[in-house]
């Protein structure tokens, strides 16, 4: 329990450093905006992170409630999942820099205390767990993007065609290969392509 | 090359800052060394100015009017036609008004009807100086409570603070109400407070206050801390009273009754 008290005490300093580490891990062009931001202007990423770190830290420290953690992580990662400047590792790396922030905020004496070290190992494994959760969220978001990318438009148009009876579904039990035979002998769609406005 | 350019820029920066200020700085610099400000040699000096009014020497208002006139004339005090706008540096009032707390039913008839001269008391602890938000009213080392008309904002806090009612305010431009202007003394403008200045401008050139001069010896003026002074002489030999002593303001006007 002693580590928890220590962390609770040094929370402000740890979060400050955590944020700092996160910002410094960004591509320089973005970091410039994150770092220099005086008010909430600039990149939503910076502010989202800023606002989510404390509750997230509290949750790691005290609760580790899966649902709560996801709810703090989701907004941070959801935005980054569509900001192509981040590689997947960059998108979730910030979780792990909490380890560094915690360690550098413990005094030497505290760092050598066996009891604390043991607790620290447990704490860090919780961070790993959160990191993995972050990765899950990131992947979920990316999958969603790709689903939208791959199917969204086509599906909608296709459904409309299908409903209009312009498309034949393959009847069960028939030999595959004869697909999507159009109803009329005339092609209904001009041969250029299938575009929606 | 890089170096010389940098030093050039440095030089330029410095001269940009110092630009144009040089001649002026010179002027002031030389002034500091040589120019001097002094008091006039003939100026009257005292540790604490005080005034003793020997009321025994007055009988009626007629005796006092010339004194008031003398003061008001040299100080360009206007004579307003509207009572509300009245300005007085020195004026005349009855015993019961001047010494509000010492009046009683059985007071001596002479005193009861005797006109008294009233003016600023140049208090030791002046409330007006205390309250002034701009230091426009201030106390000089020699005890004179003086006004800097240039600085007065006309808030009239001093008028509320003065327990003697010695202060007046220029409710309007005084100039049209000054019969004869004394060119040697400025008038005031609308919107500032004024009061008796113990003729500080006369003391500076070695003259006694105008009222003293006009009183034919009924008013004495001098240094309270000079044991040889006329005022000390009078205080030693006569019983004197001062106004509203209980307020602790320490008025410098003594009355021999």
């Amino acid at each position: 329990m002693r580590l928890n008290d220590l962390l609770e005490q040094k929370k402000a300093a740890i979060i400050k450093e955590w944020f700092n580490l996160i910002v410094n891990s960004y591509p320089s062009d973005t970091a410039y905006f994150l770092k220099k931001q005086k008010d909430h202007f600039a990149n939503p990423v910076g502010t989202t992170i800023l606002h989510s770190l404390k509750p997230l830290f509290d949750e790691i420290l005290n609760g580790m409630d899966h649902k709560a953690i996801v709810s703090y992580l989701d907004p941070m990662i959801r935005i980054r999942a569509v900001q192509v400047m981040f590689s997947p590792s960059q998108a979730v790396a910030f979780i792990f820099s909490l380890k560094k922030a915690v360690r550098s905020n413990l005094k030497k004496r505290e760092n050598q205390d066996d009891h604390i070290i043991n607790e620290l190992i447990i704490f860090e494994s919780k961070i790993d767990e959160v990191g993995l959760m972050a990765f899950d969220i990131f992947m979920k978001c990316r999958e969603q993007v790709y689903k939208l990318k791959a199917n969204g438009e086509r599906n909608r148009v296709f459904r409309a065609f299908q409903r209009a009876g312009l498309v034949y579904e393959i009847p069960d039990g028939k030999r595959p290969g004869v697909m999507n035979v159009l109803k009329s002998s005339n092609t209904a769609v001009a041969p250029l392509d299938d575009r929606v406005d | 090359m890089e170096n010389s350019r940098r030093s050039f820029l440095k030089l330029a920066g410095i001269s940009a800052l110092g630009l144009g200020t040089k001649p002026v700085l010179n002027a002031f610099a030389s002034e500091e060394h040589k120019a001097e400000i002094q008091k006039k040699p003939e100026a009257l000096k005292a540790k604490r100015w005080a005034m003793v009014i020997d009321t025994r020497k007055f009988e009626s208002e007629e005796d006092l009017k010339p004194i008031v006139e003398a003061c008001h004339k040299i100080h360009n005090v206007p004579e307003h036609t509207t009572k509300r706008h009245e300005i007085d540096w020195i004026w005349i009032d009855e015993f019961k008004h001047v010494f509000t707390n010492q009046e009683h039913e059985f007071v001596d008839d002479r005193v009861k009807y005797l006109p008294f001269l009233v003016l600023c008391n140049h208090c030791e602890n002046p409330a007006c100086v205390r309250v002034c938000p701009t230091k426009a009213t201030f106390q000089r080392d020699d005890g004179i409570v003086l006004m800097d008309f240039h600085r007065c904002i006309g808030c009239r806090f001093c008028m509320a603070a003065c327990p003697y009612g010695s202060r007046s305010f220029n409710f309007r431009d005084p100039r049209p109400f000054i019969k004869e202007e004394n060119k040697e003394f400025p008038t005031r403008m609308r919107g500032v407070v004024e009061k008796c200045n113990f003729c500080a401008e006369r003391l500076a050139v070695g003259k006694k206050p105008a009222c003293v001069e006009a009183s034919n010896g009924a008013i004495a003026f001098g240094d309270l801390y000079d044991s040889d002074s006329e005022v000390r002489e009078l205080l030693k030999n006569n019983y004197t009273i001062r106004r509203k002593l209980e307020l602790g303001a320490g008025p410098a006007i003594y009355y021999i009754v």
Binding site: F41, T47 | A16, G20
Partner: protein
């Protein structure tokens, strides 16, 4: 160190040095006091006219006002006559609000992300307020300077000065607009330096006029309150310029020539810079046009005929299918003889 503002800062410092050396060392008062101001005014007028006429020479082919309110429509729907004007009066009011009160900047919001995350758009008042303060005090300062050019000084100008020095602060009395001008330009400069996005988009050409105006204000304030110049000489010079009898009176400090050179540069620079936003705003088609193109035809002077896909060509291509689908056609199918 930001190169862009350093360039501008150095440029202004060099200008100051030129005037200083030119007057103090080389005695080129005639150049700085007469020749350059005349040239500057000439460049200003010619350049200004040239630029505006150049804009005028390009037509406005389409009416594309930004509509910021409800259009004129059915009689019972309240039409926003100012933000979506349909008449000249509406446009004039809209332009007046824009020019006199900076209507669009008044609308400005600042994007902010809050816990949640929740996006909010907070009214951003400072840019609007300071810009207003800056432009109006600049205008007053400019008008006040007419006292050097007009003799006798008109009464209205004296009133203006009286109001501007209402508070007796210092000797001679502090002109409030001068102080506001300096304060506002400093704010505008600091904004460019401290806000990252402003710093990113700012060019040397954004800093230069700011430094120029700040320097002009500082030299002006210095001359009035700190290191005095011979004001009668200044007016003599100014009147001389205005009446085409230029003279160089003796005894005017070098500070004045620096001030004058900076002002000359300001005027000469004006037509070739972003400062042309002053006339530009009057000509901005998204603001000075009425949104009335559905009931009043806007003419494009260079409208030219274009190639289109006509109905005839269309029917020719799809006639068979159209007939098949029961669509009416202009021409029936040709009877194709079978061979």
């Amino acid at each position: 160190m930001n190169q862009k503002y350093m360039y501008s800062l150095i440029a202004v410092i060099v200008l100051i040095l030129i005037a200083y050396v030119g007057v103090e060392a080389a005695g080129l008062q005639v150049l700085f006091g007469i020749i350059l101001p005349y040239i500057a005014v000439l460049i200003f007028i010619a350049g200004f006219v040239y630029r505006v006429m150049d804009w005028a020479s390009s037509p406005v082919p389409f009416s594309i006002p930004s509509t910021c309110g409800q259009q004129k429509t059915l009689s019972w729907i309240k039409h926003d006559k100012i933000d979506n004007p349909t008449t000249t009066t509406g446009v004039i009011i809209r332009m007046m609000l824009e020019i006199l009160l900076f209507r669009s900047l008044f609308r400005n919001t600042k994007f902010a992300l809050n816990e949640g995350p929740k996006i909010s758009y907070v009214w951003e008042k400072w840019l609007w307020l300071v810009s207003l303060a800056f432009h109006y005090s600049f205008l007053v300062v400019l008008i006040r300077h007419l006292r050097f050019f007009l003799e006798p000084v008109p009464v209205w100008l004296q009133w203006l000065e009286e109001v501007d020095t209402f508070f007796q602060l210092g000797l001679p009395g502090l002109f409030l607009t001068g102080a506001i001008l300096l304060g506002a330009t400093t704010f505008l400069f600091l904004r460019r330096i401290y806000l990252p996005e402003m710093r990113y988009i700012s060019l040397a050409a954004d800093y230069f006029p700011l430094f120029l105006i700040i320097s002009i204000a500082i030299t002006g304030i210095l001359m009035r309150y700190f290191t005095k110049v011979y004001i009668v000489g200044v007016k003599e010079l100014a009147i001389g310029l205005a009446s085409f009898h230029p003279t160089i009176p003796d005894g005017i400090g070098v500070l004045f020539y620096i001030h004058l050179l900076l002002v000359s540069v300001f005027f000469a620079y004006f037509p070739f810079s972003k400062l042309m936003h002053m006339p530009g705003i009057f000509l901005s088609p998204t603001r000075n046009l009425a949104n009335n193109t559905r009931f009043k035809r806007h003419i494009n002077p260079w409208n030219y005929p274009v190639e289109t896909h006509t109905y005839e060509e269309y029917e020719d291509e799809f006639r068979e299918k159209m007939i098949g689908a029961g669509l009416p056609v202009e021409k029936e199918l040709p009877v194709v003889e079978k061979e």
